[in-house]
């Protein structure tokens, strides 16, 4: 008999509510009952009021239970959790059919909650690295053009056209250029970046790699706030695995192109979320803002041309860097020609980059 796959989320919030203890109890219960289970730590779907949200793989799909406290586990198991039975009060049924999820079109968050964040197998099974492979077939200018055409705008809040920023870095000659990911997500109530980094780190790696190819940068840094220890652990491990698999390093997928990536930890300075003070901090200085001009795209990290993009912007890149990978807009999108021009601030962590039919389109 095949092992039953049980999902227990592993992101900060689920863990802060006891997900690790839930996972441990499920394992013990399975041992006690002699049930063969495969416990998988997935990312969170973002339905935090239901965390820890335990899911069970059944013949008809994943069924969910939540919020599951560690002390609920035995009762849930007794009520047939391992078989996917839906008798317990915490049973939620087909989670995909949950009204909150059902009305979303998830793009950058399409894998989040479904996969093991550190599984390359899970990632590639769901379009992972497709964008990178397609980008490798393009010229750097070709990639920049694609990003421009997509209408992707900076998702850190300022909504500056990403392609134009990249074009500046692309056009500025330098021996060394950098891709810097602003992961200093400091505003209270805002944790979409954390969710991406903890639940789908390869997506960010892929986006940064594509950005590196586009502008000619061979080194990337993720400037991560020190308040996110789990994101750091996840990213570090993901980078190690991506390198081992040839997605990062001196010769990405045998293309002859190099891209190296490193996580750099902030140290408790809110101001470092501002891009120029972030660069100062990366250089090892007090995080004081720099005057602009010069723009970081021209004189950025260590004085070199630098792309500084937010986590969500870079995470969106694999979807938008090639026409082939770009998802078909639903009817909800305001403008079929440039659907991604409509960008909500990243303050909606649950929905992430999603289509909200009721939301008005943003002015471009």
């Amino acid at each position: 008999m095949m092992a039953t796959t049980i999902y227990v989320p592993c992101d900060t919030t689920a863990r802060s509510l006891g997900a690790d203890a839930v996972a441990a109890r499920l394992t013990r219960a399975a041992e006690r009952l002699g049930v063969d289970i495969q416990l998988k730590r997935n990312g969170s779907r973002g339905l935090f009021w239901l965390e820890p949200l335990v899911e069970v793989e059944t013949a008809t799909g994943r069924v969910a239970y939540g919020p599951v406290a560690p002390t609920d586990v035995d009762a849930l198991v007794d009520a047939g959790l391992f078989e996917g039975r839906q008798e317990h009060d915490l049973a939620l049924g087909d989670i995909e059919a949950h009204p909150y999820l059902a009305r979303q079109q998830r793009l950058t968050f399409s894998r989040i909650g479904l996969t093991d964040p550190l599984s390359l197998e899970d990632y590639t099974a769901r379009q992972g690295f497709a964008g990178l492979k397609q980008a490798l077939a393009l010229t750097p200018q070709g990639i920049v053009d694609e990003v421009k055409t997509s209408g992707l705008r900076g998702r850190g809040g300022a909504a500056f056209p990403t392609g134009i920023k990249w074009q500046t870095v692309h056009d500025t000659p330098a021996a060394q250029k950098y891709i810097v990911c602003n992961a200093d997500e400091g505003d209270s109530g805002t944790f979409a970046d954390r969710l991406v980094m903890e639940c789908d780190p390869f997506m960010l790696i892929e986006g940064m790699t594509i950005a590196g190819l586009a502008v000619g940068a061979t080194q990337g840094y993720i400037y991560l706030r020190s308040e996110y220890p789990l994101a750091q652990a996840m990213l570090d491990e993901a980078i190690v695995r991506a390198e081992a698999a040839g997605y990062l390093g001196d010769n990405i997928l045998d293309s002859g192109h190099a891209f190296h990536l490193e996580v750099r930890l902030g140290a408790g300075a809110y101001i470092c979320g501002e891009e120029t003070s972030l660069l100062e901090s990366l250089e090892g200085k007090r995080g004081l803002v720099r005057a602009k001009p010069p723009l970081p795209a021209i004189e950025g990290l260590f004085g070199q041309p630098t792309v500084v993009n937010n986590v969500l912007s870079l995470a969106a890149v694999p979807l938008f860097s090639t026409r082939a990978a770009r998802p078909t807009p639903t009817t909800a999108w305001a403008s079929p020609a440039a659907p991604w021009r409509c960008s909500w601030p990243a303050t909606s962590p649950v929905a992430g980059w999603s289509s909200w039919p009721s939301a008005p389109p943003c002015a471009s």
Partner: protein, 168 residues
Amino acid sequence: MSHPTPQPADTALAAQLQAVIDQHAARPGAMLPLLHAIQAQHGYIPDAAVPMIAEALRHTRAEVHGIISFYHHFRTHPPGRHVIQVCRAEACQAVGARALEAHVKSALGVDYHETTADREFTLEPVYCLGNCACGPSLRVDDEIHGRMDAAGFDRLTAQLSATVVEVK
């Protein structure tokens, strides 16, 4: 008023520090990774590390001091066995962080940046742990705890300070 001039590290400490410094000094923008590594090793940045870092990175002591003091994550005094950080950011405040904060201070008998007399806990403020949907949040070492309240905190500290007795 200014502190007295810091004393140099004793030999053993200096050797430990130098090993970490040598490991990181050549990295581009090595300062923060180096400070993190030293704090990971010692729990804080000893004063005696400052001239050594300055020397290795061609900075001055003043600059290193300025950098360390800019970043609130870095401590300049040894912490207790556990560091407890209470989130004081808006989302947590909106769901009772201030009450939690008051309880924590009185339960531990210390204010922020202080360490309990038994050197078990050091209390620090933190501004957002990204757990805003499930606050109030606090962080103990690298673990984050959500929906924390006074009772939850008391349970937590009781677990943390429970002495492990080895049974022969």
